[in-house]
Subunit: 240 residues, 2 copies
DNA sequence: CGGCCGGTTGAACGATATCAAACACCGTGG
DNA sequence: CCACGGTGTTTGATATCGTTCAACCGGCCG
């Protein structure tokens, strides 16, 4: 456990930053944080803007401070698949590769704190603790990816939608803690994104959502806001 | 680069081990190798035997020395999905977790070199180089998983089969190097396994294989041995 | 021999895709 | 103010791909 009581020596940029607590920056000593903060800067990206292109040279990494970033892969004929979603305070980047194999795009309005690739890599050499955090995040992403492989390969459209809603609820709704059994949140993705995430078409996504609504498992307001009165009922439809 | 010319001080167990070169053990100094070798042992597992059960306590890690290990996840009603394949000299294990979230099963006859979880973890503390290798393998597995998500979510049955054959060819057939344009290999998986890997049924797998054979893209001998006279033609069917 | 296992093949069905139309919302410009 | 076009979403009719159910084949082993 690190002492976070004092803010002495913590860069202003970082004082109220979530990444300093739960993110990778939590691995750094105050003086390292100062060094890193010198070369980093916060910035916003509006929904839909591309953060990183496929086959593009990677020169910066970033922390997601708010919003949702989608990682996508596209086949030559245009078929697309979302292969990862990153929420705050996830680390965005692929160490040890100079070129990206995927696209990163802001799914919502996003705020980022980005730093030069070289800074992170230098700091990784110096701080095993940082490397370990990054390693752990990679393992978590791998666990998530494998979980989704089951969803993509073996679940029905209805189960996919239920699984997706559950995943979002867990990530976004603070009240969806283990004990609470209801949830309420805004979908960070359009129907098209959801389709790309689940390997479905937008029509199927729409139909399954209306079906869940008709069955009173969820309520939908303004197309984006979802209310789940009973998470257990939703889970029962996720097919795990 | 490590000097591998002398075998002085290299444990007998490790002298001719592939993992010492391309695997994680390559990160270790001779004396560390000696220490690790003391607590490790090689053993075989026959095809179909379970190496690690879901929700089982993890107490050993291992290197795959030969053969293929499949990582699977199963839904409560029995639907199964293969979420990873491990070839020599891959490292088998999930650091930082005490309980497995998946099943590991020998897909072929397999030989392993396994060590106590604690040994590896101690050594990881001592050797950043080892941790880095493990980190890199995790990133590679993540890349692979994401590649398969595209296959699972967006490709047709025919494309899935072609992609699968290509992946196996690249892993198994030594002659399938970039320059060579033909390949020949034994499938390490049964039709049922292939189906679980691709999110299909065995009937569909069988039909698509016969179709590829009918179209003269592949030749099949003894149900298991595959010959690909022209890898480019197979690639054209993988839909990337 | 008989039974089992892995694989192939056929026929019918059904879930999801595809094609098409309409709707709701929203900002723009007349 | 309303008409307009654009975007995201819903809904309906039809088509298609992959599943399901069933039969059969060949090799292997008891």
């Amino acid at each position: 456990m690190r002492k976070d009581v004092h803010t002495d020596g913590i860069p202003v940029l970082c004082v109220s930053c979530e990444a300093r607590h739960k993110g990778v920056c939590g691995a750094l000593e105050p003086e390292q944080l100062v060094a890193l903060a010198k070369t980093s800067h916060k910035h916003h990206a509006e929904s839909g803007s591309e953060l990183l292109g496929d086959a593009e040279k990677i020169d910066t990494y970033a922390n997601v401070l708010s919003g949702v970033v989608k990682l996508t892969k596209t086949l030559s004929d245009g078929r697309q698949q979302i292969v990862g979603l990153q929420f705050a305070p996830d680390f965005l980047g692929r160490p040890f590769k100079t070129e990206s194999e995927l696209n990163a795009e802001a799914a919502t309005e996003v705020s980022l704190c980005s730093f030069p690739k070289a800074s992170i890599e230098r700091m990784m050499q110096a701080s095993p603790e940082l490397e370990r955090r990054l390693y752990k995040q990679a393992l978590k992403e791998l666990d998530d990816a494998r979980e989704w492989m089951v969803t993509l390969g073996r679940k029905t459209a209805a189960e996919k939608i239920a699984s997706f809603l559950l995943m979002i609820a867990r990530h976004i709704d603070p009240s969806a803690a283990p004990d609470r059994n209801s949830a309420s949140f805004d979908l960070p993705l359009t129907r098209a994104d959801i389709a790309d995430f689940l390997g479905l078409t937008i029509e199927t996504v729409s139909r399954q959502l209306t079906r869940l609504r008709a069955d009173k498992v969820i309520t939908i307001e303004n197309n984006r806001h979802i209310l789940v009165p009973d998470l257990a009922r939703l889970e029962a439809r996720a097919g795990n």
